[in-house]
Symmetry: C2
Subunit: 206 residues, 2 copies
DNA sequence: TATAAAAGCTACTAATTAGTAGCAAAATAG
DNA sequence: CTATTTTGCTACTAATTAGTAGCTTTTATA
């Protein structure tokens, strides 16, 4: 069946549960954040005991690190399977759209920037840092190309564009709109993309 | 001296210390966030003991609520003293510029959106909610006028504009740029304003 | 059915921290 | 100089929670 079909039933079950744990972690992280998420929360959401949880992940930091890595890998996979003929700006737009959709469907927790504590923790996680650097490298190249072709503002430093772009993936306006407006998810995505690329002024000549 | 000059020296000193406590709270909130900020942190930053701190504020929630209220009041004061002849879009731009400058100078902690816990806490704080609603009302009117005059995109729902505008005041891109780019504070402000209003595409016709 | 091994759990520990009781020191008044 | 009040502090408590020791149950095997 799988490429490594040698996994016993037991090991398959183990892997399955590991995924269930990461799913629960992602959801809890999303609405409580790192500091308020307890290992008991995670264990009981999955329906196992805390010591069983520790059979899979050796610490809270490790668990959260793996959850974040899985998210980044999801982004990387999405990027890799995009049509190679798309223009850089179209790739950037598609990635942001994907990230917003994942978030609106409850998948993505708030990203590191939020708290110095969490940022430091992730910075110490070499596996995580490696993934971030790789993805960042790919996005940097896309931004540079899009600036050259005039699809992104060439007068802005590329740092500014890249960091602003990242910030849009975790823009709190998304949660506010979901909670307080009557817009549905697809409308929210459409408007957020427009605001990101065309700004609040909207497209115009002057 | 003051309008209520009846304050005794003792009461003046009390008021002064209260301000010092709020300053410390704001700074600590900024870099540790609510959950990791301890009352011992605040007390020792001010150079007093924890029980003395509790003479001023009856709980951690109360303390943080007052710090947030002071921030909002600062924004309200700034808004009120702006030139009445400015166009709505100029007022919005000036307010955002002010907020970014306050943040870059270390003043403003991350806003509520960050964590459900903090948001709930502030929602229960009626004094805080009152201030927010008042400021929000003023900004809503400015957005509506700017949309009518064509300075803000009239095709976007006003919710989307308002929430996106709020999000820019606590955009994590600011901290990233301050930490990892070579831009100085004024350059960061200029670029963030441009990205907010003109977007990542930059101004253009199509 | 008896035995061995694995999986999972209850119930603990050590550390942290919001909030407080009650004492000590200083200032003020008589 | 003594009495009273105010101010501030040390040292506690109760609650929470990451992480673990060691027992119990289940499963697999012979």
């Amino acid at each position: 069946m799988s490429i490594l079909g040698k996994l016993s039933f037991k090991d398959q079950a183990f892997k399955l549960r590991e995924n269930a744990i990461l799913d629960a972690t992602t959801m809890i992280l999303k609405d409580k954040g790192f500091d308020l998420m307890t290992m008991d929360d995670v264990a009981s959401a999955v329906g196992i005991s805390k010591p069983s949880l520790y059979k899979h992940f050796k610490s809270k930091e490790d668990l959260v690190g793996e959850a974040m890595i899985r998210l980044i890998d999801g982004a990387g996979d999405f990027l890799d399977q995009l049509d190679k003929d798309l223009k850089p700006i179209e790739v950037l737009s598609a990635m942001l759209e994907w990230a917003l959709r994942v978030r609106l469907e409850g998948g993505m927790p708030f990203l590191p920037s939020t708290s110095a504590h969490v940022r430091d923790m992730l910075t110490r996680n070499l596996k995580y840092v490696g993934r971030v650097l790789k993805l960042n490298y790919q996005l940097e190249k896309l931004v540079a190309k899009a600036q050259k072709s005039g699809d992104l503002d060439a007068s802005l430093p590329s740092d500014v564009i890249l960091f602003s772009y990242y910030s849009r993936t975790c823009d709190p306006a998304v949660e506010f709109l979901q909670r307080y407006s009557k817009l549905d998810n697809e409308q929210i995505i459409k408007h957020m993309l427009q605001v990101c690329f065309a700004g609040l002024h909207g497209p115009r000549c002057d």
